[in-house]
Amino acid sequence: MTDTQWPVWEVFVQANPGIPHKHVGNVHAADAEMAIQNARDVYTRRSEGISIWVVPANAISASSPEDQGAFFEPSNDKPYRHPTFYKIPEGVKYL
């Protein structure tokens, strides 16, 4: 049976100026303007944020689970990559 649903758009919402947009879910929509409106209606009912990005789901490329070993495990035993040898000043929340 053919899927007659509209394309899926992934939704990212920015809570406050300057901090990263966070993935909150997805919506169906026929085009970008409706995707933005649908995201606003579904994901910002409770003052979640001040900015919305929508991205067609098929524009997102993702790593596959089989790659996890080769991609991510090698960085586990390289402590020199972490800035653990000095203190981060207080008040610098988003460093």
Binding site: M34, N38, V42
Partner: protein, 252 residues
């Protein structure tokens, strides 16, 4: 007629329209064509009911007889309601709901924009808040006008039928009487002729872009200002008021 009486009538007109169209939109709850559109309509319905609560609450205060917004909303009969006829028209199909909403949204956009400068501070503050909500409603319904009007053959036909049915309710929005004249003089209400010009200039290009025709008939329905409503309001109120009337004095 005193200024106070005129203000009370004027606030009923604003508040009743919001209440009735808010109720109509709430009838879509759970039955929207898709999830996202269902939520969108309900958000818009909630905006209207919130606006009605504030306006009818202020109306009750202005009346000064000890009534509350609940008394006004749930204990009046059709002949006492002052909502515009367009707001009580049935939802019909989605084309009818969108067309009705668009024609009304353009009206409230310019009306509330003007009310932001009302000499009555409460009205001005309410208008300031509501206008932001209305701006979003208008954006939403405009996009659907384009997509349904300039969509498939079926959506286009349904939209044109809706436009043919609803256009006759767009004259009443701009009629003025003694209430308006008194409040315009006090700087509390705007001149609806100015609103009408903006409405026509805004509505016509959108309808054209949606590849729809404006009906050629000149007849416009009226009567809501005197409490003369279409056959639909009675049924709507029976449903809307039934819980309140069944349990008098009940509280959440």
């Amino acid at each position: 007629m005193t200024i106070q009486e005129a203000k009370f009538q004027y606030l009923l007109r604003l508040g009743d329209s919001s209440l009735i169209i808010g109720h109509r939109l709430s009838e879509w709850c759970g039955s929207g064509p898709i999830l996202e559109e269902d939520i969108a309509l309900i958000n818009i319905a909630l905006d209207f009911v919130g606006n009605a609560t504030a306006i009818l609450g202020y109306a009750a205060t202005v009346e000064g007889n000890g009534r509350t917004e609940d008394d006004l909303a749930f204990l009046r009969g059709e002949r006492e309601f002052r909502n515009l006829l367009i707001t009580e028209q049935p939802n019909g199909d989605y084309a009818a709901t969108i067309t009705r909403q668009f024609l009304y949204d353009v009206y409230t956009y310019y009306l509330y924009e003007a009310l932001k400068s009302s000499k009555d501070e409460t009205i001005a503050a309410l208008a300031e808040k509501s206008h932001k909500e209305i701006t979003y409603h208008l954006r939403h319904t405009t996009e659907w006008m384009y997509r349904l009007g300039d969509g498939t053959a079926e959506s286009h036909e349904r939209m044109q039928n809706a436009m043919n049915d609803l256009w006759m309710f767009t004259g009443e929005m701009f009629d003025m009487d003694e209430v308006d004249a008194l409040l315009i003089k006090e700087g509390i209400a705007p001149d609806l002729n100015a609103i009408k010009e903006k409405w026509e200039a805004h509505v016509k290009p959108v309808i054209a872009e949606a590849t729809l025709q404006i009906p050629s008939y000149n007849f416009k329905q009226k009567g809501s200002r005197e409490g003369k409503h279409s056959e639909h309001l009675g049924f709507l109120l029976a449903e809307m008021q039934s819980v309140h009337r069944s349990f008098p004095g009940a509280k959440w």
